[in-house]
């Protein structure tokens, strides 16, 4: 209603800023730690103090590693993460989109049973499937390969992507589909020419969700990929910390590096996020 600056609105802004501050506290810790030296960062009582100087060495070590000390950097693994996350995100989004399309607009007999059964896949604790998972992947010849891991992320992404897309497509008027049918398009033609181009907001939500989860996922990655040159950045990040002495400044620097791509996704796609949620997953 009113938009003038009154005490009420000032209060609202103050609250928002306060919350933003609280939200940024851990980020501050992350950032300042990454700029500290090892001795500084070890001293937890100086947690809040800003770094004594701009010690960028941690970033360098995290990125390039220290080859002479047997420490691998994150650099090559960042690319692995991209090779992993991008196809896995795209494929699972596409599958979700296809499923959502079929399950919302072309219900065949049994579709109403299949959907909840698919959804339930979202809820299995992943630690408990590690062993059959590795065995299955080996059996189909994908053990230890990036494609195996992509497959895993695709499979466990199906429930959530299907859910989001199904809800999203449920809001697309059925009239559009019928118009396209009369115009001469078949089930696939309608998908490609009508539904798919309309799916941007849905894809944004799904991509943000999937990208974040796959990018940050650790357990599958570490169990399924043995070759260091294939491992994604999360595994490499964990490896920055030794088993006995952990150079947290370097780990934090690495964490920041590892968070950059997801952050970029948020910044560039965030605008559409609410819109996508509005159209889709909100209905749940």
């Amino acid at each position: 209603m009113t938009q003038r600056l009154n005490p009420m609105r000032i209060g609202i802004y103050l609250l928002l800023i306060l919350f933003a501050g609280v939200f940024l506290v851990p980020v501050y810790v992350l950032l300042s730690s990454s700029l500290k030296t090892f001795t500084e960062v070890q001293d937890l009582s100086r947690l809040w103090s800003p770094p004594s100087g701009l010690y960028l060495e941690s970033f360098r070590s995290a990125w390039f590693g220290i080859p002479e000390k047997g420490l691998r950097g994150l650099g090559p693994n960042l690319l692995n993460s991209i090779y992993l996350t991008v196809p896995a995100t795209i494929i699972s989004s596409m599958l979700g989109s296809l499923n959502g399309y079929v399950l919302s607009k072309w219900k065949f007999r049994g579709a109403n049973v299949i959907f909840p059964l698919m959804l339930f896949g979202m809820f299995i604790p992943y630690q408990s499937v590690l062993i059959p998972l590795t065995q299955t992947l080996r059996a189909i010849g994908l053990g230890g390969t990036l494609w195996g891991l992509i497959l895993v992320h695709v499979v466990y992404g199906i429930p959530i992507t299907t859910l989001i897309f199904r809800n999203y497509y449920a809001e697309v008027p059925t009239d559009l589909i019928e118009a396209a049918r009369i115009d001469g398009a078949g089930i696939l033609g309608i998908y490609w020419r009508v539904m798919f181009p309309l799916s941007l907001p849905g894809f944004v939500v799904v991509i943000i969700w999937q990208f974040t989860n796959i990018w940050n996922e650790f357990l599958f990655a570490v169990t399924l990929l043995q070759k260091p040159e294939l491992q994604p950045i999360t595994v490499a990040l964990r490896n920055l910390a030794g088993s006995q002495i952990k150079e947290w400044n370097m780990v934090m620097a690495g964490a920041l590096i590892a968070a950059v791509p997801t952050l970029l996704i948020y910044v560039f796609m965030g605008r559409f996020f609410i819109r996508g949620l509005l159209a889709g997953s909100v209905k749940g």
Partner: protein, 408 residues
Amino acid sequence: AAPAAAPTEEVPAGPTGSIEIFSWWTAGGEAEGLKAMSEVFAARYPDVEIINATVAGGAGSEAKAVLATRMQAGDAPDSFQVHAGHELIDTWVVADKMEPVTFIFEENNWLGVYPPGVIEVLSSGGEIWSVPVNIHRSNVLWYNKQVFEDNGLTAPASLEDFFDAADTLMAAGITPLALGDSGVWVDLHVFESLLLAHLGPEADRGLWDGTTDWNGPEVTAALEDFARVMGYVNADHSALSWDQAAQLVVDGDAAMTIMGDWAEGYFKSVGLTPDVEFGYVPSPGTAGSFIMLSDSFGLPKGAPNRDGAIAWLTLCGSKEGQDAFNPIKGSIPARTDGDRSLYDVYLQSAMDDFASNEIVPSLPHGAAASEGWVTAAGDAMTLFVADLDVAAAQTAMAQACVDAGVCQ
């Protein structure tokens, strides 16, 4: 830089291809040591490429999950790091996943250069199951020399000394013992020193084969002392890791900490010098005994490149390999013929003790008991440090021994 010395051990004929070496040495001195050892290997076997499959997290954590999952899927690495002793034997050997490596010991005439106590830990059913690369000592008390001097104290030899010193320090407003048990094993680590102090080496070893009664009065006394010790530790112990606890000693906030000798690496990494800024003695009441743990490599059945793996194991057990690895890692060689000049003052003293002391296997580090037992003991300790209920803890510890199939 690979040492130029000619190989002293016999080399299996020309292995080629690549070998995958699985370990949790991803960073720090251990990674650097591994790297040094790999370089020696590369010089010796130029045709074999090492795939350094490292997973952080240490035994019992992610690395173990990864290894177990892979082994069960029939996807064994060529060789993997494992704590020597029951962690290897009760987990992998009983599961028939390992090949004995006795033949490597025999071919290289190592049986003479490894102390019998070590061979005993490595053996089961008349076979040796892994090649140790190093030895760490568990029962070490580290202390801040300045703080001790300021309070007119000397390093405590017995538990009575320890508690006296602790009282003095408390009065001076200094935390007597720094504890950082955010990792569960730390509680067990402290406790095993106390057990040794009360039982002595002979009875202590008996705990792990069922000959010493877990319900006995010495165990009770050890638990009671542990409860007493908890009165002298920093209040935020469960928020700290062992190295953060060590930092308390560095800063002079605390005077002592009981930790394995990898702590020396930490003190050095923050710029302290052994015997100058910090001192070390065997944990109170354990002088003359050496609680050992050892990182070793085994030969899994179905290793894709068995010859390469054997070459690797041969190097791990060699003097050259161990002298490349240990000075950097901060541990002592498992062999008795290490080149002392390569090691610092603390490690030299450890080498001396190792040669002369009674060897006792370590519980939390896989040498003394099966992983299931360690886990159960850890659970009991987790509860104990919270409620300090001696009777309950002793029952639980005894039960753990029964569940492990060792006690009746």
